[in-house]
Every structure is written in C-alpha cells, then in structure tokens.
C-alpha cells in the first residue's frame, strides 16, 4: 500500500499527487516513471515521476483523466492509498550540457517534461520551454517551468491565454529567427510529438520524444510496449521511454494504442454511469475498495 499524502487538481481533469514511496523517491532520475495499480482488480498504468523528495520519501505524479483507471485515480484524495507503485522504471533522460535546449510540453506532457527540463537547466543548458494547452485553464506547471527556463513560451489552441496557436508555431519561429538549437525534447500527444519531429528533421536538430505505449509490467517481461524504432522493435519500458524522434514510427504507436479501444470505452462508460448514479467512486469498482 502506498499512501497518498496530498492530492490537488492543477486544472480540470489533471491532478497532482504526492505519494509516500521512500524506496522509489531515493532512486528516481528525470525521465523515469512508475507503474501503479490502484486496487486488486485494477490494471497497471505507467505514470511519469514529476518530482521526488528523497528526504521525505515522497514522489509526485501528475495524472490526466483519460479512461477508467485515470478517472478513478483522479477521484482519490489525501489519506487514500494505491495498492501498488513500482519503479523507478525506464532509462533516465540523457542529461548533459548540450547548449540550447528547447523543451516542448503539450497538455499533461508538460508535467512529464518538467523534471528533465529542470535537470537540463541544472546541467548548464540554456532552456527554452514551450508549453501548449487547449485553453487557459489547462495550462499547468507555469510557475515551475518558468523557474527552470531561460525563456517560457505559452500557446493555447483557443487563444484564451498568452497566444493563440500550437507549440509547433513557436518552435518554427525559434528555428526561423536563427536560434541555434542543440536539442529538442518533446513530450505530449502523439500528433504533437510527430509534428515536432517532422519540423526538426529537415534541419537535423537532435530531437527526443517520450513515447507512451500501453504497458503492463514495465520491466521488459511482456513486450507489449514495443515500439518501432528505425524499423526495429524496442521495448519502451526498458529501452525508453525517450527515443530519437527521427527514428520513431509514430503510425505504429497510434495503431498499437488503439488495440483495446472497445474494451476501454466500455470500462469508462460503465464507470461513469456508476458515478452518475451518485455512487462514491469506490463503489464503482468491483469488490469496492
């Protein structure tokens, strides 16, 4: 059992949790994730570690409600607990002094990119961050990102905050105004990462993306998380999750993530109907909690 010490919505449908997990907190490096299972009948889902406090023995995660498991997770509060949290998993981000680094975060991807952005800054890089969200409400971690960035650019799809547009518009501007970019790190929806990748490919700018295939064990045991990199299968949980964007086959990632859509849809619909019937969240999982 892993206790939730704090839980707070950062934006509608996006919640930050502080979990008690001393072993993991001690070992976590930027770019790594945990796999968690909320209750006995639950599935295992991967979530990036946004921050950790080794002294206090805690780690932070930021979760966006997508399907049943994330909706259920986001209905939990301080004092509740999560049955299983395992990690830290995955290869840590490569941190060195590259020069100028552009960190692109889309949606909840901003939280996933944050620890790496902070580490890159500490390593002496000039960090330009581009944070994108659908609207003003969904812009998360603005203060944190500002703290670790030399420059912070924000876009919203509907123009309700700072500037209307997409993160790729900002990236294009940077590339066009002659900013010498040594590395781009893009984390967010697959379409966004693919667009960034295509934009930087022409100029040969080294670009890393953090891939989010469906996972089970997170230790290389099942092979379900395999992604096509340069035409070859790699396991995102142990060989990644960060990969050279220019080698990633994004179509295959989209295709594989659609594998269980029908079942996922059913789970979510059932869950929402149950919640709608004014049941407490824990009554909406088999066997209760």
């Amino acid at each position: 059992m892993f206790k939730i010490l704090e839980a707070k919505f950062l934006a509608p449908g996006i919640k930050r949790f502080v979990l008690e997990a001393p072993r993991i907190a001690r070992k976590q490096k930027p770019g790594q994730f945990v796999i968690l299972r909320i209750y006995e009948e639950g599935e295992r889902i991967p979530v990036t570690i946004e921050n950790s406090d080794p002294e206090r023995g805690t780690l932070n995660i930021v979760v966006q409600s997508i399907g049943k498991t994330t909706h259920l997770l986001n209905s939990l509060n301080a004092g509740d607990s999560i049955l299983d949290v395992v990690g830290p998993l995955g290869k840590p981000s490569e941190i060195e002094k590259f020069g100028t680094v552009v960190v692109v975060g889309g949606g909840v991807g901003t939280a996933m990119a944050y620890p790496t952005a902070a580490a890159l800054k500490r390593a002496g890089n000039r960090v330009i961050s581009i944070v994108g969200a659908r609207n003003k409400e969904l812009v998360i971690l603005e203060r944190e990102m500002r703290e670790v960035s030399d420059e912070l650019l924000i876009t919203t799809d509907d123009g309700s905050y700072v500037e209307k547009g997409f993160v790729t518009d900002k990236l294009r501007q940077l590339m066009q105004n002659g900013t010498k970019i040594d590395l781009v790190l893009a984390v967010g929806p697959i379409v966004m990462m693919k667009a960034v990748s295509e934009m930087t490919r022409k100029d040969g700018i080294r670009t890393m993306v953090s891939l989010n295939p469906i996972m089970i064990d997170g230790t290389g045991m099942c092979g379900g998380c395999r992604v096509l990199i340069d035409g070859k299968s790699e396991f995102a949980c142990v060989d990644g999750p960060e990969f050279d964007a220019h080698k990633v086959n994004f179509e295959v990632l989209v295709q594989r993530n659609s594998m269980y859509r029908d079942a996922e849809q059913k789970s979510l619909t059932d869950f929402k109907e149950c919640q709608h019937a004014a049941q407490p969240a824990e009554a909406c999982v088999p066997g209760g909690r």
Binding site: D84, V86, G87, I216, C222, V238, M259, A263, S267
Partner: protein
Amino acid sequence: MSSTAQNSPNPLPLRDRMKIPRQPMPEQAPEVRAHNYAEVNLGYSPELAKQEALRCLECEKATCSQNCPVGVDVKSFVELIVAGDFLAAAAKIREDNVLPAITGRVCPQEDHCEGNCKLGRKVKPLGVGYLERFVADYEQRMGFHAMPKVAPTGKKVAVVGSGPSGLTVAGDLIQKGHKVRVFEALHELGGVLVYGIPEFRLPKQIIREQVDYMRKMGVEFETDVVVGRTVTIDELMGEEGYDAVYIGTGAGLPQFMGIPGEHFNGVYSANEFLTRINLMKAYKFPDYDEPMLDLHGKDVAVIGGGNTALDAIRSALRLGARKAYVLYRRSEAEMPARAEEAHHARQEGIEFHMLTAPVEFIANEKGWLTAARCVRMELGEPDASGRRKPVPIKGSEFNLPLSVAVIAIGTTANPIVQSTTPGLGTNKRGYIQADEQNQRTTRQGVFAGGDIVTGSATVILAMGAGRRAARSIHEYLTSGQW
C-alpha cells in the same frame, strides 16, 4: 523382483501389482473444460490413490528417485500412501521438495521419476505425479502443521524473485533460523507459476496457500521491488545489511522472431498474452479492468511447441477462439511440452500443424492481423541441440487466416540485475554464472539459480538449484568462508 520388500505395507506379490492398471486421473470432459478456466485434472480420491500406490514395485535401486532433480524419496512416500498415512507421505516429500502441490501438477514426470520407473518397461509407469499431487492437496486441506520455530542466527538473506527457485531458498533458509526477505518485481508472488501457467493447469490458490504458509514460518515478502532499479544488490548488502543474496529472477524476456509484421495489432508475445490473462485476470473482464481482445469467433495460432505455447493456445480456446492452431517448426517428437498437456490440448480440439513456421504477418490497412504467411519445413541434419534441424521447403508457402498470433518461441535473461551489479559474471547469452554445485556467483555472498542461470528450464530444476543454494548459503553464513 520375486517377492515383496521387507516391512512393506503392500501385501501384494509383485506380479499382482503389475496387473493393476494405472489409475486414470479424473478430469473435466474436454468439451466442457474447453469453455471454462477451472482446473482440468480433478485429482485422485483416497481410494484411487491407494490403488495406484499398490502398483509400486518398491525397487531396491529406486531409479525414480535417482532421476528426480531434488531426489524425492518416492518409494517411501508411496508406501505411506499404501499404509493410509497421507500426512506422513506429504511430510516425506517435503523433506526434499517444498512445493509438492505444484510439482505434482507441472513437473515433466515422463523425463524424471515416471520416465525411469521399472513398471514402465512392461506396463504404464507408476503415477508418481498424481500421487504427489494427491498427498499435497490432502495436506493442504488438513491445514499445514506448524513448523517448530528455530533459534534465530541473526543472519539476513535477501531473495530476489519469488519463482519456484526463490521460494525454495526462502523456505529452506527460514528453517535454519536465518531472517529471509523475498523481493519481487511484480505485485503477485510466484513467478511463472502465477503470471505464466494458467489457472486450468495450476490454480493460483495453491500458490497463495504455499506463500501464506511460508509467511507463517516467518518469511517476509516485499512486492513491487525491481532489484536493480528500486534497490540494487550493493545497497541490499550495504545499507540494508543483508549477509547474502540469492538471485532467482528467471528468464523472463520474450523473444520475437524478427519477421515482418510483428508489430501488428493481434500479434502477441506469449508472455504478454499469458500475463494479461493470468496475472491481470483479463479473462474476467469487465470484473477486472485489464482488457483482452475479444477472441470469440476468431482464429488464433500460437508459434512454438513448449508448455508456454500450449498454455497460450488452450487459454485462447477458453476465451472463445473458433480455430486454435499450434504451429511448430519441428515434428511432434521434438515438442518440448509435457506429454499430458499435448494430449489434453488435442482432446480439447487444438489443431497441431507440425513442420510449419510463419515467415511474415499480414494485416489490413488499419494494422490488424489478418493472416500469417507460413512455410512448410522438413527435417535435415542434427543441429546444436542434437535435434534434426528444420529446413524450409521451397515453394511451400501458404497463407493461414488469423486474427491473433501468439509467439512462444522462448525467452532469455532479463539484464536488469546483471547490468546494475558490478562484478557479477555472466555468460555470453547474458545468464548469470553460478557454480553448478553450490550456486555461488563471482560476487562474494551472492548466489544465483533457476532459469536466470540455466536459461528456461523447469520448475523442479529451479527448485533443485534453490535447494543447493540454500545449503550453500547456510554453509557460507555459518562458516564465513567464501
């Protein structure tokens, strides 16, 4: 072989024993069990067990025991069954084998005890596995008797991995008075026994009870710890103060074939397919959240001929598959699966395509598998394994329509522990180097055994290694000598 052994409880002369037919295992009818997840074999009744036990010839030179990797005293435990003392029979097995309810079900008896039973030369061999299972289940029903507590030695041992080899080490060392803590990466304990072997062959309740029993004996378990990531071997032996570590991490990394189309939707590794079903209970969706493709009315094939392959395809059948094929590139004689499983699979309606291998997976425009392009093989010269090498027959390609293909061509070593433990020697295939007798690795205080040393093998071999390791760890802890 002319008279009965001295002091034997068995009143029958030897020739009469040979006249008793091998008692068949009661089982669910094939057409019923093909649609449920309950155990296929139902187990002997006390009467059946006694009748079967009467067949034992009580050979002076017990070739059955000599060929058991852990040396179970078959003759003695069978005599105790004849005498009707089932608990004593169980205790007798436990002297050499701490997991009899498991090995009684999954051991390849035809390669060990039963394969070397003298009865087998003339009639069917003694049902050693069935008898072992019977007494183990009997004992479990009666409730395990508590083990006497041993004086603590003050030494601490960490066991990495909770498969059969790790559990054996833990069970043996706790009885020597050492403090034992098992670290497991997954959320369930039991290794392949829980994530690989399906419920219909090995009910998970059995493993849970074994683990509970070990807990009662004082073994501590910590799940959700990936050693190498969550904590390293050096940290266990440093800050955490463990005097010795046993590595029993298995050979859990799935191999793919490297043929085109392995990334299509519907192509699985056996590990993923079985993990979804067994560990995550996807066969109980939506009561459990883990999803599984709906296999009703779909055609499914497994590639491979081992226990893993048969477990996967028989699971697919139970999940509603219309056609369920085994594609194996060698011939039936080379199939490494347990004989009983192949027999059961056939009864259930699994179709076996021997000397057949896929060369490519074919999908529709959305990336969903629609067929496997296969080639027929013939057997050529013996290869490195001593088996005749399958060679593709030119021009024999054909398309087999499929919605799901499960690749079960073997597994290799997971490198996480090896790559994070400086000085731990490995062989060229990435397995941990350990002495065959005392299971010592190249690092002082670190022992290893089971599949992570030998490559994928069997439950009983993993347990045998665990037993040797426990003895050797105890020796090291008491003598301090490396």
